[in-house]
Symmetry: C2
Subunit: 344 residues, 2 copies
């Protein structure tokens, strides 16, 4: 998918090294279990101000990692770009949101100290955010609780992995076999949910991979969309661990702000929020639809909070968060300016 | 899913036996290959008029069969109902479209001789329509060519089956093993595409299967939607053959009226149509969306044909064709009356 470019004249954060921190205390999980020790992979861009008031925490999507901007200093680092840009944006170890983070970009590293932490449970590090006093919140294409379709897609993707005999009830490490076939099906399915109907129609239509037409062979990818999905699936199976996928998928399915923090009321759950909030959503995102962001906005408004929800008219579905850089930059820059003024 | 009932006072066609016919000549396929011998399973309801002008051919969906109405005379006949009604409508061997076919129903067996043939390639018989001089055409939730998303979902479903080691490159017959795990994933995925976002949200939401909340066990179905999909998957794996699924799925993906019969022009492909056409589609059907039916209507109109397209405002997605009986009946009855007048 092509993408709208960020600001003209914006620069790069250069070469970056992923760092790690070990949490000093055990982490208590929703299930009641305790996790320890916990290591978190992270990267930082820009400089922390003496007053320590210019930090921006960037969280990534399901299969992303801490390497959000610049070029990795590790030439062997796999491509970890999530979604439609995979195989293009990750070339040469470029971060998954490089168009949004850097000098003069939406998250301007000449002004802000940007931190990107890797999800806990991910195969590339782990994280527990627990931020205090945030410098403003920008949930992009997010939700307070995944919808029924999303719950189902995730459940089916997990079924595909767990149905693979090479999964071996999860104990595949060290056996020389891993559930590649299963995670490939999971990735293909997931990938389709990140893209809008219009995006796949415009880009692939019913084009045949072989211009001459169908090859009438079940094992072959006849249509261009099939070939694209197989490529994405192979690349994902190379770089992502199946158990990590299972646990992250399960965790994001469980996530329910209203249930966990508000006895079923989203307004109650969000009552303690003190930060200003900018919600960005994309018109064609059917996995995390604008409606879900509007639910959050409504709950914040009910609490009299400072909240703004912008629905960006974009065709790429959920993956618009990787592609619609110019339009996100416009809103994020204005929001961060306003937050900075308030803090000053 | 609940359904809107058909006409009050409508009756049943009673107990029905599936019949078979062997085609006298080999069948030439699109791929150039020839298929012989070809057997077709079918059922008929009502009586053929002396002038043989009251026949209605009913075609079924991917996993349906010839048993469309009444009660099967075979007590061991599996449930073959496609889509959301499975496990309810098939109880006791009731046909998959019993609400639409029978005395006083949309396809009124007091007036019409209704034939339902089983798809060629299906595990429950085979068919080649080739109808001449049709008694009017009613494509319901149909398309002249499946869209990109549909092509992709089908490809992923097939991948899940072919990734199952028990598929054994298709040669699983007689080995005592069949790709159950694979076809279950395929069915869950397919099932989600037959239902609208609103239908699954209204019926399942984020309800937990165990009212107390998540059980934190990867192998368990936490959410009601997961449990529902697993039930559907198990039931489907019991009754449907994986290779049949692969070939039907592939064939419906290839199907492209414009490409095969009009050198890329749908209008040219439909130029020979002499029958009047009533297209029915459902507002929430995202797999075979109203737009696809409108494409057919537009192409027929461009040829000056007698065509009507009714978009039924229905919440159940593609499976509305099994559920919205009352609203379909209204339009089909009026259309068949008009066609009968024209023929008379």
């Amino acid at each position: 998918m092509s993408r709208a470019s960020a600001r003209p004249g914006a620069g790069s954060v250069g070469v970056v090294r992923t760092q790690h921190v070990d949490l000093p205390d055990p982490l208590r999980l929703d299930s009641g279990a305790t996790l320890a020790p916990v290591r978190i992979a992270y990267e930082t861009y820009g400089t922390l101000a003496p007053r320590r008031d210019n930090a921006v925490l960037v969280c990534h999507a399901l299969s992303g990692d801490a390497h959000a901007a610049g070029w990795s200093d590790d030439p062997s680092a796999p491509t970890t770009v999530d979604g439609a840009g995979a195989g293009v944006r990750g070339r040469g170890g470029l971060g998954w949101w490089d168009g949004m983070i850097g000098p003069g970009k939406a998250f301007d590293t000449d002004r802000y100290f940007v931190i990107c932490t890797n999800l806990i449970g991910s195969c590339r590090g782990s994280t527990g955010p627990g931020s205090i006093d945030p410098g403003g919140i920008v949930p992009i294409a997010a939700t307070a609780a995944l919808g029924t379709q999303g719950v189902a897609w995730n459940a089916i993707a997990r079924s595909a992995i767990m149905a693979d005999p090479d999964w071996q009830d999860g104990a595949y490490a060290g056996t020389g076999r891993a559930p590649r076939a299963g995670i490939k099906v999971a990735r293909m399915l997931g990938h389709m949910t990140y893209l809008s109907e219009q995006a796949v129609r415009d880009r692939f239509g019913r084009d045949f991979q072989d211009g001459a037409g169908p090859v009438y062979d079940l094992s072959k990818a006849d249509f261009a969309i099939e070939s694209y999905l197989r490529y994405q699936a192979d690349s994902f199976a190379d770089r992502f661990d199946a158990n990590a996928y299972l646990y992250i998928s399960r965790a994001l399915t469980y996530f329910d702000l209203a249930r966990s923090y508000g006895d079923g009321s989203l307004a109650r759950a969000l009552a303690p929020v003190e930060a200003a909030t900018l919600l960005l959503s994309f018109s064609s995102d059917w996995l995390y639809p604008p409606r879900d962001s509007e639910d959050i906005a409504r709950a914040l408004r009910a609490n009299g909070k400072d909240v703004q929800h912008v629905v960006i008219d974009a065709d790429y579905g959920h993956d618009s968060f990787l592609l619609e850089e110019a339009r996100m930059t416009e809103h994020i820059t204005a929001f961060l300016d306003r937050v900075a003024e308030r803090v000053a």
